[in-house]
Each structure stands twice: as structure tokens, then as C-alpha cells.
């Protein structure tokens, strides 16, 4: 399995989804070899083999003798003994959802502070590397290429039945590994360039998506919504795309975050990137309509993004700054605290392939109001839904949800039951069905 990030070192939902899915697959008896650009060592990955294609091998070569407690370990040992790999550091700061501008800036910083050894890549034998995707340098595409090169080389020493690649950053690697090994390829679409940027999306990213989607034996989409966009944007038949909704494990009730004092203000939470796609502006406009009717309310707009400065000044312009807080980018425990102390979570996304945060909110016993333009709205019945542009309805729902404890209580009680159905086991089961289908198909072909 090829991924770009893994908790706790994550920039978005992708790493979390990879963790959940691999745990679910492990429980189904699937042995997962997971390759990320960089392993930090503090990942909780006991359910699988987490491979940093280069650094791990370096560490092993210097260090301990062979261990053989599991089949996968043996395989890895073979790899380590046979591999003649150079020590190459792959920059691990890659944030797939950074804008190109932000990426270039980060890269520049890196260049100034350290050196990136150029890769002696023997890739010219691969047909794909002559394609346009490889001809760009000094940006995220360069890192995508590096990742593809080292992964495909490492994969020669690994034993596996199929390749499963997550999002466009790993599609080139997935395609290479699939071609050289003759094993089937599954590409998993968590998010499309179209979702992030609309029609104005980056052409190169679009092309890499297409490369993966066209080369793949099967495509997994995180929602029917995303499946529709894949079909439209990449023109492939519906039969090739399976939908596997993301899941979540209910977290321990985080009671100690809760402030039970009766006179505290009711809190409404937005948590996500403050960008066009996430609809934070609708959150602000709805808040302005709510405040005259619910005087004791606080709106928390958590996250960072290009729209944040504009929204802050909008809040001042509306004269509702007393009711707003902007805690910035939250992570780890801060996220848990934010979900636990909110009375209501609002996801006003303009376009959201899945929207796992809505499930997270529920797992913290916070009811969610979600826009109909999200994948999660397809699977979540026990919630109130709105069209992202319908500010009046959103304000109406917020007012009533704050006014009536009964509404929030019944929603969360039923949603918690619903969440069980959405757990990762279900996602893993569906993924396994996709695996079996394409493996059987491949066997028939031979």
C-alpha cells in the first residue's frame, strides 16, 4: 500500500483514513506493507509493516540481526539483506494540500538549510517516466517522482499480491510498481484536484490522477459524490469505480474536556481548512443571522487557510467579533478538546469528497450539521442537512439546535448508533471485496 502520510504526522484526513483502513484490513487478515515518504518512528503501526523505503533499510543494515516473528518480517529481512540502497533522504515535509506557492517556499527553505542529494534514478527504462509528469522540477512533482523511484525500486524486493495507492501523489509510484511486478493496481481517491480547486485545478495533478485512474484495475472512491466527479472529470466507466465510505472508531468519551457550568455560552464549531472548498464564509454569514436570536453564543472558527484574513475582517464588519474566536490550526489534543467542548459542529462544505470530521464530531458526542454537498451526508442519517449556500436554513438549524437540548440529545444518541455501522471494519470489508474481484479477474486472464 502506498501512502503519503501517516498519523501522527498528518496534514489532513488522508493519513487518518490510511490508518483506519489498514487497521480494518489487518482485522480481515490482510497483510499490509505500507510505504510512506518518511517514517518518524513514533507511528502506531503494529498492525502492519510500515516501510520507509530508504531510511529503514539504512537503519537495519547497521543494526540488529534478523527477526522472524512474522511472515512480513521475513520478507523485509530479505529485502534488507538483498538491497543495495543508497542513503537518500526524502523530504518529509511534503504537504499534498499545500498550494504550489507554499510548496515552493518550503522547498526553498529546505534548500537553503540542507542538501538534497540528487537521485541516480534508473528510471529511463520505464515508459512512464518519459511522460510529461516527470519533466517538472523543484516542486511537489519532483517529490512525487522521487517517491515513485524509490518505491518502485524497493518493491522489487517485496512479495505482495496487489498495489493499493492513495491519492494522486502516489499514483505514479503505484503505476510503476504495478507494471514492473505485473500485480494489479487499485487507486484510492480520497480527494480530487477538482474538489480542491474546481475547474481551475492544476493540470499536472489532474494528469497524474488520470494516469493512476486509467492504469488501475480498480478505482476506489470515498463517496458516490466523488465517484460521480471521477466519471465526469476522467471519463471512465462506472463499473471500474467502487465506493468505500470512510469509517471512524468511536473515541473514548472525552468527558474531562467538558465544561458543565450551566451559564457558559453555547459553542458552535467550524473546524477545517479555511478555504473556499470548506465554506467557512457561509459559517460566518449564518452566525450573523443567529446572534440576534441567541445572544449567548460563541462561534469557533478553527483552522487556517487563505480565506482567514478576509473572514476575520468580515466578522468585524458585521460587528459580531465578541461572538467569535479564531484558534488557528488545531492538532491532536486540541482537536479533541474543540470537538468535546462544542455544542454543535457545522460542516458547510461547498464540495467535500467525504468529510470524516463530521464522524469525528459525533464520536465526541457533538451533533453535526452538514451540507448536502458532502460524501458523509450520504451515510449519516441522524443529522440535520442543508445546502451550503442556504444561509437562512443553516441559521435556522443552528438556532433550533442551540435552543432545544432535546434536539441535540436525540440526534447524538441515534448518530452514535449509526456510527457503529460506519466503522472502518465495514470499509475494510468492502475494500477486500474489491481486492478479491480484481485478483480473481487477473488469475482468469492468466
Amino acid at each position: 500500500m502506498l501512502g503519503w502520510e501517516y498519523p501522527p504526522h498528518i496534514s489532513g484526513g488522508l493519513g487518518t483514513a490510511c490508518e483506519g483502513l489498514t487497521r480494518g484490513l489487518a482485522r480481515q487478515g490482510v497483510e499490509v506493507l505500507f510505504m510512506v515518504p518518511r517514517v518518524f518512528g513514533d507511528e502506531d503501526s503494529s498492525h502492519m509493516t510500515l516501510i520507509d523505503p530508504l531510511r529503514h533499510s539504512v537503519k537495519r543494515r547497521k543494526g540488529a540481526g534478523p527477526s522472524s516473528d512474522s511472515q512480513s518480517r521475513v520478507t523485509i529481512e530479505q529485502l534488507f539483506s538483498e538491497a543495495e540502497l543508497q542513503e537518500i533522504f526524502i523530504p518529509a515535509f511534503l504537504q499534498p494540500y499545500w498550494s504550489e506557492k507554499e510548496y515552493s517556499r518550503q522547498l526553498q527553505l529546505l534548500r537553503e538549510s540542507s542538501t538534497i542529494e540528487s537521485l541516480p534514478l534508473e528510471l529511463s527504462s520505464h515508459r512512464f517516466l518519459s511522460s510529461s509528469a516527470l519533466q517538472y522540477g523543484s516542486d511537489i512533482f519532483e517529490e512525487v517522482n522521487r517517491y515513485a523511484a524509490v518505491v518502485s525500486r524497493t518493491a522489487r524486493y517485496l512479495d505482495f499480491d496487489l498495489v493499493h495507492a492513495h491519492d494522486w501523489m502516489t499514483f505514479l509510484a503505484g503505476t510503476l510498481v504495478s507494471r514492473q511486478s505485473g500485480k494489479p493496481l487499485v487507486v484510492h481517491i480520497h480527494s480530487l484536484e477538482y474538489d480542491r480547486s474546481g475547474q481551475a485545478g492544476n493540470r499536472r495533478i489532474h494528469d497524474l490522477e488520470k494516469l493512476g485512474i486509467v492504469s488501475a484495475d480498480a478505482v476506489i472512491a470515498v463517496s458516490h459524490y466523488t465517484k460521480g466527479i471521477i466519471r465526469r472529470e476522467h471519463g471512465i466507466p462506472a463499473e471500474k469505480i467502487s465506493v468505500v465510505h470512510n469509517g471512524i472508531y468511536p473515541s473514548e468519551a472525552v468527558q474531562h474536556y467538558r465544561d458543565s457550568s450551566p451559564d457558559r455560552r453555547k459553542r458552535v464549531l467550524f473546524l477545517g481548512r479555511v478555504t473556499f472548498q470548506k465554506g467557512p464564509d457561509y459559517f460566518v454569514e449564518a452566525a450573523a443571522k443567529v446572534i440576534p436570536h441567541v445572544p449567548e453564543v460563541e462561534f469557533v472558527l478553527a483552522g487556517t487557510g487563505d480565506m482567514l484574513p478576509r473572514l476575520k475582517s468580515r466578522v468585524y464588519e458585521l460587528g459580531i467579533e465578541r461572538h467569535f474566536s479564531f484558534p488557528g490550526f488545531l492538532k491532536g489534543e486540541e482537536v479533541e478538546r474543540a470537538f468535546s467542548t462544542a455544542d454543535l459542529y457545522v460542516m458547510p462544505s461547498v464540495s467535500e469528497p467525504f468529510g470524516i470530521a463530521a464522524l469525528e464530531a459525533i464520536s465526541f458526542d457533538t451533533p453535526a450539521l452538514i451540507s448536502r454537498q458532502t460524501g458523509v451526508s450520504e451515510v449519516l442519517g441522524h443529522t440535520l442537512k442543508f445546502d451550503f449556500w442556504d444561509i437562512d436554513r443553516l441559521a435556522d438549524l443552528i438556532i433550533n439546535a442551540l435552543q432545544y437540548d432535546e434536539l441535540r440529545q436525540d440526534m447524538i444518541q441515534m448518530a452514535r448508533r449509526e456510527l457503529k455501522r460506519l466503522r472502518w471494519d465495514a470499509a475494510a470489508e468492502k475494500t477486500l471485496a474489491v481486492y478479491e474481484m480484481i485478483i480473481h479477474r487477473n488469475e482468469r486472464r492468466i
Binding site: K289, H293, V379, G381, H382, T383, L384, K385, D392, R393, A395, D396, L397, I399, N400, A401, Q403, Y404, D405, E406, L407, Q409, D410, M411, M414, R417, E418, R421
Partner: protein
């Protein structure tokens, strides 16, 4: 000489329109005329008109030996009059055969028996007046909304003047006893008629179920089951929603053919006949006093009230709307009173039910709302606006104190009668 007793429930609520916290409506007209009219006309075409025509034909074909009874809510009658008068005419023609009995209930199909006995009495009286007006009959048998029943409700109906009450034949109440006899209300001389849910549901729910081992159900087969009761009971009470015919079970399932053959098949056995509820209690004596240890209804497997007050939203909405009773009645404003009563109809609370809305089984659930939570939000928004209207009325009334305003005369039986028209 055992009898088959048919009772059909006819009900249409006044569904509320989409209403937000920011809306305010002049003339407090919260009801969705277009939707109510179109549903009323649709069900008229699929069920009421064809089934009424079939029943009329059967009564004539069997020279009056085929007899049925109806309970029609006031809210349904009002909508027939406004949106589908031909339905009302066809019920009147059935009434004129002398083979059809009309049963009493709350005019607004409400849960008033559980929240306000005053309001319960008022609505039952309104309903009686409406039945008298349209069909020239005075109901002598009572059924409460959704067959919601306990000893107290039976006694209340007796106090109002009914001679018999209809309830569900609930297993944990009946225990070893059979629903196929007449009983009496606990500590009362009112008779109790109990639904035979097994045979009733064979028609109402299982008729078109292809997974059912008895599928397809024919009139011949069903009559055989009824005839097996011979010697073991006086009456088989088949109580169901009238919409079973043509709406819940579509015409294409053969439900009308089943109905067409059923009376003849039942009466092929020389001992068996048809009787209306009052005829049943006049003909057969009661076997025992039946005590209900809990509130029961005819809904779901549990036969309880959780469909209408099984979660905290429903309890909240019910508590709020009944808390307005005193204020509404103090204003003596017929228009506001009628609006309030339409908001008491049990369907509004049913739409807020979350219990079937679980585990992705969303589509099995019928409601004009996207979710129970939407139903709650919409209803509470209406209630908030209605309360504002009431407060306006109350403050106007207190200004008028001392002088008699035209609007706020004392309530008379005349105004109450107006309401039922």
C-alpha cells in the same frame, strides 16, 4: 352465529408547511394547502373512491348482509369537503344504505386523552357533531387515536356516553384470553371490542408480501382461517387503516379482487355473518372485565406509544403545545383555537419518531420531512410563531379588559358547533 366486524380508519392530517425561525405568517396559516390537497386527491383516486364504490356494490349484492364501520377524523372530513367533495358524497351514499356504522373519536386525531381531559372531551363532542351533520348518525362506539387505550381512557369514553370502546388485542394484556369475545372496560359497564391483530394484519400488512409463506392470500383461504374460530369466539374484529385498499396495498396486488370475494366466502359458512361494532355489542354478552396494566396502541410490534412520544423531542413538542391550552382558550378566538387543535394531530409527533430511522433503514419510513430532526425544527418554529400570535392576542385582550370587545365574547355552544363545520 359468529360475526366478522370490519372497522376502517380514515384519516388525513393537516400537514404543516415549511417554516423557519425567521418566518412569521399573517393569519397564522401554517398548513401546506397545496401538499394537503394533492395528497388528499391522490389517496381519493387510489383508495377512497374505488373502495367506497366496491363496498357500496358489495352491500347491494349481498342485500345488506355485508356491513362495515368507519371512523373518519374531522381533519379528514374537512379536507374532503375542501379538496375532494366527491369522496364525502360517496361516504354519504354508504351511510344511506343503513349497513354502515360511524364510530366516534377525537376530531383532530390527537393525543388529548393523555394530556388534557377537557380538550379530549371537547374534541370528541366536535367529532360527534360532525358525524351527525354529515351522516345523520350519532356514534355509540368509540375508538381513540391509534387505538391508544388504558382503563382510564375507557372510563372517560363511557363518561362521555359511549357504550363500547375499540382497542388493540394486545398479547400481554389478553394473556390466555382470546380477542374474539366481547369484554367490558375495567370497573365500567362499557363494552370492549378487541382487534384480532393476526387476521387484521394478514390483510393490512402481509397481503402483498411475496416472502410470506401464505402468499398469495385469497378470499377463500382467509375465510377458512376465520371459520376456524367457530365455537371458539363470537366475533373476529378486523380493524385497519382504510388506506390499506389501493394505497398501502396497490390495486395491482389484487386487494380489490380479494375484497370483492371476501363477503361471499365468509358467508358460505352458514353460521357466519357480518356485523358493525354496535351490533356486535348488542348481540353478544361480555365475557369478562379486562384490566389494561399499561397504555397500548395498535402501532408496531410493541403496541406501545413510542411512535409518538418515544424520544425527548416528541415529549418536548407535546409538552409545549399542550402548555398553550389555557392561553388559547382564554382568547375565545375560533381561528386561533382551530389552528392550535390542528397542531395537536398525532401525525406531527409521529414524523419526529427516530426509532425506525436507524441503521440506514431510512426509506421504510414515510414522512413529509427529510428527517425526524427536520420535523421537530419545523414544528417548533411554527409553535414559536404561534405563541407570538397568542401573546399579541393576550395583550390586546388585557387592554380591552372591562369593556366587551366584539372579538372576545363568551364561548357558546354555537361557536363550538361552527368549529366542526
Amino acid at each position: 352465529m359468529p360475526s366478522v366486524c370490519f372497522y376502517f380508519q380514515v384519516h388525513q392530517p393537516f400537514r404543516v408547511a415549511r417554516f423557519t425561525h425567521f418566518d412569521s405568517v399573517i393569519w397564522t396559516d401554517y398548513f401546506d394547502v397545496q401538499k394537503n390537497a394533492s395528497i388528499c386527491r391522490k389517496v381519493a383516486q387510489k383508495c377512497y373512491l374505488p373502495t367506497n364504490a366496491k363496498l357500496l356494490e358489495l352491500i347491494q349484492r349481498h342485500d345488506g348482509a355485508f356491513r362495515v364501520s368507519f371512523s373518519i377524523t374531522g381533519t379528514a372530513l374537512e379536507q374532503f369537503e375542501a379538496y375532494a367533495p366527491e369522496v364525502l358524497d360517496s361516504f354519504v351514499r354508504l351511510a344511506q344504505t343503513g349497513c354502515v356504522e360511524f364510530i366516534g373519536e377525537t376530531y383532530y386525531h390527537s393525543l388529548a386523552a393523555l394530556y388534557s381531559e377537557d380538550e379530549f372531551r371537547a374534541q370528541v363532542k366536535l367529532h360527534t357533531k360532525a358525524i351527525q351533520k354529515y351522516f345523520g348518525q350519532t356514534p355509540r362506539v368509540f375508538r381513540n387515536t391509534e387505538l391508544i387505550y388504558n382503563d382510564r381512557i375507557g372510563q372517560l369514553a363511557r363518561e362521555i356516553g359511549f357504550e363500547a370502546i375499540i382497542a388493540e388485542g394486545v398479547d400481554d394484556v389478553l394473556d390466555w384470553r382470546s380477542p374474539n369475545f366481547v369484554y367490558t372496560v375495567h370497573n365500567s359497564d362499557a363494552k370492549l371490542l378487541l382487534k384480532n391483530y393476526k387476521l387484521s394484519d394478514d390483510i393490512a400488512f402481509r397481503f402483498s408480501n411475496r416472502g410470506w409463506e401464505e402468499f398469495p392470500l385469497t378470499a377463500d383461504k382467509f375465510s377458512g382461517w376465520v371459520h376456524r374460530v367457530s365455537g371458539n369466539g363470537d366475533v373476529v374484529n378486523l380493524f385497519m387503516d382504510y388506506e390499506t385498499f389501493g394505497e398501502h396495498q396497490w390495486a395491482s396486488t389484487g386487494i380489490f379482487e380479494f375484497l370483492d370475494y371476501l363477503p361471499g366466502e365468509i358467508m358460505k359458512h352458514p353460521d357466519w355473518n357480518f356485523a358493525t361494532p354496535f351490533e356486535v355489542v348488542s348481540r353478544y354478552s361480555a365475557r369478562a372485565d379486562l384490566h389494561f396494566h399499561r397504555l397500548t396502541s395498535w402501532a408496531d410490534l410493541e403496541r406501545d406509544l413510542t411512535a409518538w412520544r418515544g424520544n425527548t423531542m416528541q415529549e418536548k413538542a407535546l409538552a409545549e403545545v399542550y402548555s398553550l391550552e389555557k392561553q388559547v382558550k382564554s382568547l375565545n378566538d375560533l381561528r386561533l383555537l382551530a389552528v392550535w387543535r390542528k397542531l395537536l394531530t398525532s401525525d406531527h409527533f409521529y414524523y419526529m419518531c427516530t426509532k425506525w430511522f436507524a441503521d440506514g433503514d431510512v426509506h421504510a419510513y414515510f414522512s413529509p420531512f427529510e428527517s425526524p430532526y427536520d420535523a421537530f425544527v419545523n414544528y417548533m418554529n411554527v409553535l414559536k410563531d404561534f405563541k407570538r400570535e397568542l401573546d399579541k392576542g393576550s395583550s390586546a385582550l388585557s387592554k380591552d379588559k372591562g369593556s366587551h370587545s366584539k372579538k372576545s365574547g363568551p364561548r357558546s355552544s354555537e361557536t363550538t358547533e361552527l368549529l366542526s363545520a
